[in-house]
């Protein structure tokens, strides 16, 4: 409970202290709001380009999907990860019954 109170209090204080940031505009960590020209594509790997030079939008390559069979790709792992911080075991999680409320289909 102390952690919850501390977190919420901290967030409230931070919100007050940095109210000058307009969260409805694009932001960059460490800088706050950034100017973006209308209709300009934001490129995450953007580097400085010379005037007139065409900016190439880097394609987001698909990385290993855990839904694929591990035999199909060498870098994919099976669906049984067990990170140290995870408390419920994968087996327990997967045997949990389906969620109670079907809210979309």
């Amino acid at each position: 409970m102390k952690n919850i109170i501390a977190l919420l209090a901290g967030l409230a204080i931070a919100g007050t202290a940095f109210a000058q940031v307009d969260p409805t505009r694009p932001m960059v960590t460490g800088r706050g709001n950034v100017e973006v020209r209308p209709a300009r594509v934001i490129v995450t790997n953007q580097t400085k380009t010379n005037p007139g030079e065409t900016l190439v939008l880097e394609k987001f390559q698909v990385t290993g999907s855990l839904l694929r069979s591990p035999t199909k790709t060498s870098h994919d792992a099976p669906l049984t990860p067990a990170p140290a911080s995870r408390k419920p075991s994968p087996a327990k999680a997967t045997t949990t019954s389906a969620p109670g409320g079907r809210v979309a289909s």
Binding site: N3, I4, L7, L8, L11, A12, A14, G15, A17, F18, A19, V21, P23, T24, R25, P26, M27, V28, T29, G30, R31, G32, I42, T44, N45, F60, Q61, V62, T63, G64, S65, L66, L67, R68, H75, D76, A77, P78, L79, T80, P81, A82, P83, S85, R86, K87, P88, P90, K92, A93, T94, T96, A98, P99, G100, G101, R102, V103, A104, S105
Partner: protein, 174 residues
Amino acid sequence: MLAPPATRADLSVSAPTDMPAGKTVKAEAFWQEFDRVLPPGVWVSPLENQDYEVISAKWMRRSFLPALNHEMKALWRREIPAENAAGNCNGFALVCRLMLSLSAMASHARAPATATMIVRQEKPFGGLGATMEKHCVAFVLTDEGPWVIEVQSGAYTKFNDYPNRDKIILVSVH
């Protein structure tokens, strides 16, 4: 009168309806959380809501993550193509966001304090090895602090323990 189709194989997504509501964070404070935990230079999308629902960590463990696992395995059984298709890491991270949004709607809560993050997977996490490629994971602000979730396995960790936290490129909230 038209007869119904003989067979249907719709894709569906279900989400738990018991999300606790009431702990909220202002958009400005949510941005500050990103500014505090992310490395400098990470793009953060506009936050279009005034308030966001801070997610109960207890509920995440007991209800949401098992439900997420259930949905992911259901999709897995459909053998959805993964390469250069909707069934890639980004698509599944969006399903996680959708499920959190559905749960929040059912609880009449604010928009959930969650995001999808593009990250360079330089270290293994959640069952996926170090692919050295771009990958997509989910960010959830819980009442125990920010978490990162590998949505395809349901593995999660506190943000400070996320091995690729200094390789985050972009955060999408809206």
